[in-house]
Amino acid sequence: MTETRPTVLRARGITKRFGDREVLRGIDLDAARGDVVSILGGSGSGKSTFLRCLNLLELPDAGTIEIAGSPAPLAHDARGRARIANPRALNALRAKTAMVFQNFNLWSHMTVIDNIAAAPVHVHGMARAEAVARAHDLLDKVGMTGFAGHWPRQLSGGQQQRVAIARALATDPDLMLFDEPTSALDPERVREVLDLMRALAGEGRTMLIVTHEMAFARDVSSHVVHVRDGVIESMGPPALMFGPDASPVFRGFLSPP
């Protein structure tokens, strides 16, 4: 959005239907390197579906996606159904992204350190020793020093989410996707995760964050996007979106009558 920085995400006309229900009805979104985009919206508005379309966990029925210069390998069969044109390109595209889930989704059969080193080793072909060394650095960074040998189930939710963020950082992704990363946490654990994300934003990471944390969205984002019924209802810098000139619909969403 600032012209000097390279574009990391270019999504155009993303459409997705589940059965008869059109969940996404043409979403366009760009992000430049260092952008922190908060995606807000009511339950069922299609936020998660949009995020999952970006790394093709869901296949959009229409639209194009380009991440760090690589187009998503989407094709359509004779009946108009979306399919993957090239599994190799798909994995290459996904390897440029990283996702942090509401429920952490750490691999329960791996220790903390193996969770973090897995993608560098098994996706990017990094030597294991190097991956483990870097994983230890990341553990320090997310404040989990000393937990390398722990199993996911031995950690609290906040700790698991911080490990999941370290796992996401391990591949040095061009684009990080967060789907309500604090929604499954006890209120007193939310802080530790938000602080970490704030630090990442300060480092210039490109992040798309679906969240219900309004204060975080206002203070940390470079852009705020309001999704409603599968379309972007309004978007803009937080100063505008949380100011008096925001769209009435978004204001209604922020403070329901």
């Binding site: 790394n55 966990l57 599994p87 798909l90 994995n91 290459a92 595209l93 996904r94 390897a95 440029k96 992204t97 990283a98 996702m99 889930f101 429920n103 989704n105 750490l106 691999w107 329960s108 059969h109 897995a118 993608a119 098994h122 996706v123 199993w151 189930r153 031995q154 796992r167 996401a168 591949t171």
Partner: protein, 232 residues
Amino acid sequence: MMGESGTGESGFLADTALAIVAAVPVTLALFVACAVGASLLAGVLVAAQQGRVGGLVARAWIFVFRGTPLLLQIFMVYYGLAALGPVRHGPLWPAFRDPLFCAFLAMTCCCSAYIAEVLRAALAAIPPGQIEAARACGMARWTLGRRIVVPQMVRLALPAYGNELVMMLKSTSLASSVTVLDVTGVAQQVIAHSYRTVEVFCLAAAVYLGLTAALTWLLRRIERRLDPAGGR
């Protein structure tokens, strides 16, 4: 055969125990061969179930072998196949002539059906979010299977799989019905000469108890090793 060396009650029991223990290698060999064969076959069945045609074949296989008694299957392989000209005059006859092989084949087919069901249930129990996390970071299909799906499946399947193995160990006794001299076969032989059903079967039962106890211990060790945090 019995009798000469035995001096009274304790002599008979000692002789019988020796004869039965001497048959343990046969029982164990049959069990290990079946465990390996059935597990590999079950893996193939589960893999086949991912496809459409393979799924039909695998389901039919499981339906047939789970739905009929193992004893009947052993008889079918041993007597039934031997009655077919192509088997009896074919190149495989030396194998089918051997009762131990027939018992192995029938048990492997039967147990593969049970283990396949155990593996299928384990596959279904893998948290989908963990597979999604692997896909989201760009893991290739095969890597995902090897690094995420199979290790999780093994862990989830282990308790039920261990149960199947214990059942299988005991089922090896059915091989005695086609003249295999395993622990049960030898016990029956001793009974035929001594007419002392209760004592001999008790000794055989004690041997099976020992074997299943050892197997259970081994399985528990593996379980603990794969999931050290489990017993926390």
